[in-house]
């Protein structure tokens, strides 16, 4: 009845590899959905996070430290807490319920984008700040305008920006709370890697869970490694 734990893990692992390499339709579908949702969320968070970070990193103004502190504080926001707030917003009884986005990929993309915005903003801001301030002055003495000088700084901080985007994507694809609460883990529509792992483990389909966990690890590490390689070649 209770197999030795080691056997269970090895058996599960072998069956998981089989599921992955046979191209099991469910496994493929869930993985593709996860990647699409989380990369869309990452793009959205960069879309609004990059300008904010550029202002925070390049300009000096009153309230800058408060704003930076806010994003730093939000870095570790518990996903279930955010999920709950978003559920109340998306719910039909909530303020934007009329959009009917609850239990849809749209809600999941927006939710993850909000979740990772503090990472995008904070990491890009520090990347910009870590660039030698003399570059801006140098550019200006060479006759560059304020905008051109700022672009020069942004270019210098590019590797930090890429790291921020990678970290944001990894947090998005690995989180459970938001997608579960606003997506509802509907089979074939809103089930992603993390929600399926949680449900299938509960249902006793350990092999499927291990297969999905391996895929999740592969996605995250493949992305990080390739970014690393690209950056090494460039420097």
């Amino acid at each position: 009845m209770h197999p030795a734990l080691g056997n269970e893990i090895i058996d599960g692992f072998l069956k998981a590899l089989q599921l992955i390499f046979s191209g099991d339709p469910t496994v493929v579908e869930i993985s593709v959905r996860s990647i699409l949702i989380s990369s869309s969320a990452t793009m959205l968070s960069v879309l609004w996070g990059l300008p904010v970070a550029a202002i925070l990193g390049l300009k000096r103004f009153r309230g800058r430290f408060v704003a930076k502190g806010f994003f730093h504080a939000m870095l570790g926001i518990p996903t279930v807490a955010l999920g709950l707030v978003l559920y109340l917003f998306f719910s039909n009884a909530g303020p934007i319920g009329f959009l009917h986005w609850l239990y849809s990929p749209t809600a999941m993309i927006i939710g993850q984008a909000i979740l990772i915005t503090p990472i995008t903003v904070s990491f890009i801001t520090s990347a910009i700040e870590s660039v030698d301030p003399e570059i801006k002055d140098l550019a200006k003495t060479l006759g560059a305008s304020e905008t051109e000088a700022s672009i020069a700084v942004l270019k210098e901080s590019m590797s930090g920006v890429v790291l921020a985007i990678t970290a944001s994507f990894n947090r998005a694809i690995a989180e459970l709370g938001v997608v579960l609460m606003v997506g509802g883990n509907i089979a074939g529509l809103t089930s992603v890697l993390t929600t399926t792992i949680a449900l299938e483990t509960n249902k006793g389909n350990i092999e499927l869970s291990i297969a999905l966990a391996i895929i999740l690890l592969l996605i995250v590490s493949a992305l990080s490694i390739s970014i690393n390689l690209i950056q090494r070649r460039r420097t």
């Binding site: 209770h2 949702i37 869309s40 793009m43 039909n92 239990y103 990929p105 509907i186």
Partner: protein, 325 residues
């Protein structure tokens, strides 16, 4: 320089918006009409609803979207207008849902039994006892340190049943739940069974989920007390009132309820699990109540899950009179 910069930026912004929109479009639900069903975990985690979904979607152009939660949360979802239909098993909560105005057209679809399950060694020696005796015995042994109890603790239908049983056995749940042997699981039936197994404890389980988990080798717990009238478990489907939440898919909900109580739907319930588990996990209730085929059980269901002598009092019905003749 400035001009090209802005062209680049606006192109990037457009590209992001286009790809996000494209993804959303690609991932959207099918063009079919959508029906959101908040359901008790026992019907979903046993995969019964998967069997129902296959047959239903082959027949109707409606896409079933199940959200698997406990009865308490399912009712909460429905009250906020986030579900079109609920499948639940807690008559007291269901009555509140009907009188609150959100729930209409309730139909009893199936039943089975709860059971008290525990370790094979049965440290409290409850096998063969009545439910209430067994509970007293478990408390006694637990206070001596030889047994433990795991409670669902999640406001689900099973949790509601457990609370009412403790009350009937003469215990005050507020005091009990503070004692060290009373473990609050706070999760679905499957997870709770696994915790009970891990702690070699006792728990109240619905037979459907228990049989699936036991046959799948996930737990080695044994059924110790079963089949009594006080362990009856009745499942109903309730639609959400469209007057209260204009956005809900009332027509779809009624199509699904009619399918569940049709001969076809009842047959799926009757036979689900026979091949895999050697016995059905749930029993159909429609024919039984109509024809009184098993008077004892029919009477039990009427006493336990009927309100004013009917499964849905007339003031909580809306159209579809054929459901209740």
């Amino acid at each position: 320089m400035k001009k090209t910069f802005f062209i680049w930026v606006s192109m990037l912004v457009l590209a992001v918006i286009a790809s996000v929109a494209g993804t959303t479009y690609f991932l959207r639900s099918s063009m079919k009409e959508r029906l959101i069903i908040s359901t008790t975990t026992s019907l979903y985690e046993t995969d019964l609803l998967k069997a129902v979904e296959t047959e239903f979607e082959a027949k109707y152009p409606i896409d079933l979207n199940f959200i698997s939660v406990g009865t308490g949360i399912a009712i909460e979802h429905a009250q906020r207008g986030d579900a079109d239909l609920i499948l639940v098993h807690s008559p007291t909560d269901e009555l509140g849902f009907l009188t609150g105005g959100t729930g209409i057209n309730r139909k009893i679809i199936a039943y089975n039994f709860f059971a008290i399950v525990g370790p094979e060694t049965d440290p409290a020696k409850i096998q063969g006892m009545t439910t209430l005796q067994a509970l007293s015995r478990i408390v006694e042994s637990s206070r001596n340190g030889t047994a433990k109890w795991v409670s669902r603790g999640d406001n689900s239908g099973t949790h509601a049943k457990e609370k009412s049983l403790w009350k009937d056995a003469g215990f005050n749940l507020t005091t009990l739940s503070k004692e060290s042997w009373y473990i609050n699981s706070g999760s679905g039936m499957g997870e709770t069974l696994k915790k009970t197994d891990y702690f070699s404890a006792y728990t109240l389980a619905d037979m459907g989920t228990y049989l699936k988990y036991q046959k799948d080798g996930l737990i080695s717990l044994k059924v110790l007390v079963e089949q009594g009238k006080d362990l009856l478990n009745v499942y109903s489907a309730i639609a959400v009132n469209q007057t209260l939440h204009p956005n809900v898919n009332f027509g779809g909900a009624m199509t699904f309820i009619k399918f569940l109580i049709s001969d076809k739907g009842q047959q799926i319930i009757e036979h689900y699990g026979e091949d895999q588990y050697g016995q059905s996990l749930f029993y159909p209730a429609v024919h039984l109540l109509k024809e009184n085929t098993d008077p004892t059980i029919a009477q039990w269901i009427r006493e336990y899950a009927f309100f004013n002598g009917t499964e849905c009092p007339p003031e909580y019905r809306k159209g579809y009179a054929e459901l209740y003749d």
